[in-house]
């Protein structure tokens, strides 16, 4: 190998990114510059992307350390509206806790929490119109909850039980609901981004007024689909909002493996001539304001926006993950942007619209409603305890009409059931 090296040149070296802290080490967030709330300017929602490039490197923040809402991005929401966001975040967290535990109790195969990231989906659902179409990734259960999707229906999906609208076909949390403007979640990352652009292009070409929004993690911005989506969106000025939820970790890979050492994820927008905003993702009011700005921009034919939500994945990637194996356990408590529920609560308390007692009562109320929903959902069964869908449904919905080869295979499967359960019961339902 050395023979091929020119002797008068220094050897090359390959850079392999390394996060600031590993297990057992002190959490180190010294490279994160936390700008004070209120200092980031708010351009007009029709501003040219080139005039607002600084925003891709700034941090839109509304809630300051004293719990006050400050600066040009303050959405000036009513106390009722803020309490509704607070409750939906708390409900999402309670739902996550309960379903995580259900997985640990063996009632389902898999679960994914969004703990610490509730502001992203919940405040965004409040900022979007109810009719706007969402193309989520796997950690935006907050959208469904904020839009009022029945919890029982979500749990039925998680349990793949006989009440599951998706007939037990999808991994838990891969929800789908046209009624709630929530596109079927894919396990293949960022495929939903070009899809959101296509939906938005269709809406625009039909003279509709609805816009689309899509979510992905910072890790999967490395996927080709992300860049295809950005290109299509800028070319056709599609009415779409791209949300990059930068929660610092893609399973065990820190943001550096998606290019986070070199620049921000909001700055991806600059190369495409798209408006880019970098937002404190744990500040529900900032998330709301940025989303409302981007929605207005899209709705007035001023094109797409990329929002980087700077946040922290407070727990494991999923129930199959143990983050203590690759990151400092201190990170969660030392995260410099705090917790979205605690921060919005502090604001409501500071302005005299909330107190500890009401918060405790709310926590109890949401926990009770989750518990009641769980009880209801479990009446429809839990995963692995009986077959909840008739066997023959396996072959439905592959095509609109079942072609001969699937009919043949369906007959084969039913013959297998008869061999296993000759009494014709087809086994436990």
């Amino acid at each position: 190998m050395n023979d091929s090296r020119r002797s008068n040149r220094p050897p090359l070296s390959l850079h392999i990114p390394e996060p600031p802290a590993r297990p057992g080490e002190e959490a180190d967030f010294s490279d994160i510059q936390v700008l004070p709330a209120g200092v980031t300017p708010r351009p007009d929602s029709s501003a040219e992307p080139h005039s607002m490039r600084d925003l891709a490197f700034g941090l839109v923040r509304v809630l300051d350390d004293d719990g006050q809402a400050v600066g040009p991005w303050n959405p000036r929401l009513s106390a009722d509206a803020m309490r509704a966001i607070l409750r939906n975040m708390a409900l999402t967290r309670a739902f996550d806790d309960r379903m995580f535990r259900a997985q640990r109790q063996g009632k389902t195969s898999f679960y994914m929490k969004c703990t610490g990231e509730e502001a992203v989906a919940v405040a965004q659902a409040h900022a979007l119109d109810r009719e706007d179409m969402c193309f989520p990734s796997y950690r935006q259960q907050g959208i469904l909850i904020a839009r009022g999707h029945p919890l029982v229906g979500m749990m039925n999906q998680i349990y793949s039980n006989k009440g599951d609208a998706l007939k037990g076909r999808q991994l838990p949390i891969m929800y789908s609901s046209p009624e709630y403007g929530f596109f079927t979640v894919s396990g293949n990352l960022t495929t939903q981004l070009p899809q959101a652009v296509g939906w938005a292009m269709a809406s625009a070409s039909k003279g509709d007024s609805r816009i689309a929004a899509a979510w992905c993690g910072e890790g999967s911005t490395a996927e080709g689909d992300f860049h295809a989506a950005m290109t299509f969106a800028t070319v056709y000025r599609a009415p779409v909002i791209f949300n990059v939820v930068n929660n610092q970790w893609a399973i065990s890979s820190f943001a550096g493996f998606a290019g986070g050492e070199a620049t921000t994820f909001a700055a991806r927008a600059i190369g495409y001539g798209i408006a880019g905003l970098r937002v404190d993702g744990n500040d529900a009011l900032a998330v709301y304001a940025a989303t409302a700005w981007a929605a207005e921009r899209a709705r007035t034919n001023n094109g797409p926006t990329l929002i980087e939500h700077f946040t922290y994945r407070a727990e494991g990637h999923s129930t199959s993950d143990d983050p203590s194996a690759y990151r400092s356990a201190e990170e969660r408590v030392k995260w410099p942007l705090g917790d979205p529920i605690v921060r919005l609560k502090a604001h409501l308390v500071a302005i005299g619209e909330w107190d500890d007692a009401r918060h405790a009562a709310m926590d109890l109320e949401v926990a009770e409603s989750v518990k009641a929903a769980q009880k209801e959902a479990e009446k429809n069964g839990i995963l692995g305890h009986g077959m909840h869908q008739p066997f023959e449904t396996m072959f439905e919905d592959v095509f609109e009409e079942m072609p001969p080869h699937l009919k043949e295979q369906q007959a084969q499967m039913l013959a297998e059931r008869m061999r296993k359960w000759p009494d014709g019961s087809q086994g436990p339902r």
Partner: protein, 344 residues
């Protein structure tokens, strides 16, 4: 041809495909056509010529050069309620779109339990015989027939191309519509050293001007015989027919037209009658669609077979440029296979 209305007009394959899209767009505002060079210019093979001028830029338009984006956007449009007809300029370019086709378009009806469906028709020129080298000659249909939830359609004449494309566009599931580009302008008997024949002399270039469909999943028996069954599709229908005539074999020649869903009934009836079978496709041999056909035929017709089933295919090499005609499964390779099957 029962639902084919008069009058008719001579069309080559490109004109028939163009006519199908024009009709589909006129009948349904939700049909949109897009792809690389598809809009103003009308496509590198002219298949979409005039559509933008007739239906406007939001119905037929150019796209960025990202196949993943083209199909991803088609999925989103279908979710909205449109009926997209994206073009992938060459089948060889379709691979960046595989995730959107295989994991998304093909699965969305199933994974959403019917909440959404994907009425997308992906048109793409495929196959060799035009000195296209390894990136403009491939036949990747076997990749798509292997995917649950996709239909794969390959026409062999202008008449079929129009009727099948209209059926594909009107179908509520995703269809891969591969167009054999060697026969866009005329049928091909496999003799590359002979003058090119125009479609005008072929009866199937007489194409009805109005709307008609050819149902997906129905093969065509394009030649009837007693001694041998030749199963093929696309360009190879014409090559196979010519070979049969040249050898003087009394063969059934079946043009599958649709690979998935497969018309196994037509195949089974023919092979049970003749007892001998040759499968011809241009695609590479190993794990090709011919393997699937051979397996299904022996499952159903084993005791009727007089000889082992023969496959005539492209070789398992990349499609070579200068050695194209040594690669192509032409009259010699087909002849050797037929002789072998007939001898046993």
């Amino acid at each position: 041809m029962s639902n084919a209305p008069a009058p008719t007009r001579r069309m080559n394959m490109i004109e028939a495909i163009n006519d199908a899209m024009r009709l589909a767009m006129a009948r349904d505002d939700d049909v949109v056509v897009f792809g690389e060079d598809v809009g103003f210019f009308g496509g590198v093979f002219r298949a979409t010529a005039g559509l933008q001028q007739e239906f406007g830029k939001t119905r037929s338009f150019d796209t960025p050069i990202t196949e993943c984006g083209i199909i991803g956007v088609a999925v989103g449009m279908a979710a909205y309620g449109l009926r997209p007809v994206p073009e992938i300029q060459f089948a060889d370019y379709i691979y960046p779109a595989l995730d959107q086709l295989v994991s998304e378009a093909a699965r969305i009806r199933y994974r959403s339990a019917g909440q959404w469906h994907m009425p997308i028709t992906v048109r793409s020129p495929f196959g060799g015989g035009i000195f296209g080298g390894q990136t403009h000659s491939q036949s990747p249909e076997g990749i798509f027939t292997h995917v649950s939830g996709l239909k794969t359609v390959i026409p062999s004449t202008p008449y079929d191309a129009k009727g099948l494309l209209l059926a594909a566009i009107e179908d509520n599931d995703p269809v891969i519509f591969f167009e054999p580009k060697r026969i866009y302008n005329g049928p091909f008997d496999g003799h590359y050293d002979r003058p090119v024949q125009p479609w005008a002399k072929h009866p199937a270039s007489e194409v009805p001007e109005g709307h008609y469909t050819i149902p997906l999943g129905k093969a065509a028996l394009v030649r009837e015989g007693q001694d041998l069954t030749v199963i093929t599709y696309g360009t190879m229908v014409h090559v196979g027919l010519a070979a049969v005539e040249e050898l003087g074999v009394d063969a059934d020649v079946i043009d599958l037209r649709t690979l998935i869903p497969l018309d196994i009934e037509t195949i089974e009836a023919s092979v049970k009658k003749t007892g001998r079978c040759v499968i011809i496709h241009e695609a590479t041999r190993t794990s090709g669609f011919g393997a699937e056909l051979a397996a299904q035929i022996q499952e159903r017709c084993f005791y009727h077979l007089e000889a082992p089933i023969e496959r005539v295919t492209g070789f398992d090499t990349p499609y070579p440029h200068s050695l194209e005609w040594a690669y192509f499964p032409g009259p010699v390779r087909i002849g050797m296979a037929i002789e072998k099957v007939m001898k046993d």
